[in-house]
Structures are given as structure tokens and as C-alpha cells.
Subunit: 198 residues, 2 copies
């Protein structure tokens, strides 16, 4: 049976980009110098996995049924911004002055991987647009092949419900991931988004 | 008050080399795709912090009073290898065929930082050498200024107790960290260690 330390090193490898060597460093670092912080990490991680689910309205991560953004009276319900992931949502929230609401797809259309409209919660998004309050759907999927295909699909869906679809302005590098775009570029691209052509 | 998700992102920053962006990715990755692995990490981390302490004999990390290596009857008690950290011990153990015992200094002499012989457990090491069983002290501190100073101090200590001090052969790059040396180089350097000159 492997020792607890070996189990800890192995357990760290669940984290993205963490191989054997980095996992070792993490285990030793925590045991040598960060026992309090490591204890806090263990507790917060356990609590997060137990209590963080998806917002019933926007599909973002939240501890409550409806997330704080969706529940806020000070957000503009006429604008809805569709993003692929919570990380993208956070990037936009931190970089721009956007005061509307969000819809997190938790992915992008990828038929070969079995990810269709259903998996992206598009029935939910459709129902939302049918309510009549949303006037603009800001489509902020990544500028990748799949992200663009998803954007076009969402634009059609929006138009069918009388909602104006818009897309972030160029400035986001092609093939890049939104999450890694610097704040200034992202803020600019967000501000100069344009209506999507037919 | 910050959300549980924000607390989780903050908590990940306790890990070495993990900034805000990486911490975010870790939190999202675990919540999106690795809830089981994340739960295991939380549990293993909590258990490790609670139960892993230092071996009374070699100061390595262990869940027991005496670590498995020190307790093993198949290791050669005539050879003792002094290293700065548990990671260095592991690197040597994995790269070489060494079958002797270890002593983990948990640091190196650094008077300006208040790290003297006492902090490195050298009274313990001295008592160990006074027992008479150790014949060779393999000094595997890092080839840095402080590591070299520590090596010379240990060599003197060894000679005072009739123990032959040796040092890893050159091959370990100067200024480098043992932990990052490739296996082949480390194995070669370990094998062709030489007796330390007076
Ligand atoms: Zn929400
Ligand atoms: Zn031991």
C-alpha cells in the first residue's frame, strides 16, 4: 500500500497541468511551510464540491439556487451575454463595465463529442428569450471553429425570438481562448461588439 | 463576504507557483470535471496535514514515529546520506541504487536567516555518528553557496567522529537544484562521488 504522502502526491495530479514533479513540490511545500493554508484548502475544497452547483437561471457556479448576479436588481435584464464557461464569464465581468446578465453554455456545439443544443441548455436559453425581456444576446463564445459555429446557431435562435444578436468585435485573436486575453483587449472588444450579419 | 468559489480560488493560491489565473483554472476544472478527484484531494490533504510528521531518526516526512526506510532491515546502516529536503531524498532514491540511510537537514546553513546547526538537527546527526555504526557520510546538499558551506561544515563534523565524508561528483550543474537534475546525471553524480578533501 502506498504511503499517505504518496497518496497526497497522486491526489494533486487531479489539478490541471500538474504532473508528477509539480505534485511532489506541492505536497512538500504544503507539509513544510503551509500547513494552515493546506488545511484551509482541504476544507474549502470539500465544502465547494459539496455545496457549489449550477444556477438555475444562468448555469454559472453558485452555492444558491439562483446566483448573486441573476438575483441582483441592479443588472440590466435586457442584455444577455452567452459565454462558453464560468471562466469566460468572470473574464468579461472583471474586464468590462457590462451590467447585463449572463448565460453560461458550459461548452460549445461539438456534434462529434455528442455536445448538441440540449447539452448547452439551449432549451433553457430559448425559454428565456421567449419571455420577452431580453433585447440583445451578446454572443461571446470563443473565436474558434466550434465557437463560431455555436455563435451562428445562437444568432439564428435569437432572431427567431426577436432578439438582436451581437458578437464581440475583432480584437480577440483568432484561435485564442477568451480566458487568456488581456483585460484591455477584452474590454475593447466587448465595447465595440457589432450586430451579427444575417 | 466572498463566495465559496472565491474562497476556493484564494485557497488554491497557497500552492507553489499558483497565481490568481491558475487558481481560477484549478477551481473551475475541479468543479466542472473532477469532483471525485477533488474530493479525494481534499480528504487526502486534510489527513496528510493531520497525520504526517517527521521521522524521529532521519527527519523525513512520515506517518509513523520512524519512517519505513529507517525501520527497514535491508538498508545499509554504514552509509548515511545528508540532503537538504525530502524532495532531494526522493530524487536520489528514485535515480540511484543507493541502499544506505538518509538524514534530512530540512534546510541549509544560512546564518542571516537564523538557520544554524541547531535548526538543521545537527546535534541529532552528531549523536547518530557518535553511535559508531556510520562509516560514510554522503553529503548531497545542493551545489549552491549555502549548500557548499553546509557541506564543509558537515564534512568537519563527520571527521571529528571518525566518519568519512564524501560529496556527489561534479555533473550536478553549479547553482542548480538537485531536485531538478535529470535522473541519469544524478545517478552518475551519485555513483562517482568522491571523498572530500581536507
Ligand atoms: Zn445565475
Ligand atoms: Zn526516517
Amino acid at each position: 500500500m502506498s504511503s499517505l504522502l504518496e497518496q497526497l502526491i497522486e491526489a494533486f495530479r487531479v489539478l490541471p497541468g500538474v504532473g508528477q514533479k509539480t505534485a511532489q513540490r506541492m505536497a512538500y511545500h504544503v507539509l513544510e511551510r503551509e500547513r494552515d493554508g493546506g488545511k484551509r484548502l482541504a476544507e474549502t475544497l470539500a465544502a465547494s464540491i459539496e455545496r457549489i452547483g449550477h444556477c438555475k437561471r444562468c448555469r454559472d457556479f453558485t452555492e444558491t439556487e439562483i446566483c448573486a448576479t441573476c438575483a441582483s436588481a441592479s443588472r440590466d435584464a435586457h442584455q444577455l451575454c452567452a459565454v462558453e464557461s464560468p471562466a469566460d464569464r468572470l473574464a468579461i465581468e472583471q474586464a468590462t463595465g457590462y451590467r447585463g446578465l449572463y448565460f453560461i453554455l458550459q461548452g460549445r456545439l461539438s456534434p462529434l463529442d455528442g455536445i448538441g443544443p440540449r447539452e448547452l441548455g439551449l432549451d433553457q436559453l430559448t425559454a428565456r428569450m421567449a419571455e420577452g425581456e431580453v433585447q440583445e444576446l451578446i454572443i461571446a463564445t470563443n473565436p474558434t471553429v466550434e465557437g463560431e459555429a455555436t455563435a451562428h446557431y445562437l444568432a439564428q435562435l435569437a432572431r427567431q425570438h426577436g432578439v438582436r444578436p451581437s458578437r464581440l468585435a475583432h480584437g480577440v485573436p483568432l484561435g485564442g481562448e477568451l480566458e487568456y486575453v488581456d483585460r484591455g483587449t477584452l474590454s475593447h472588444a466587448f465595447g465595440s461588439r457589432s450586430e451579427m450579419p444575417q
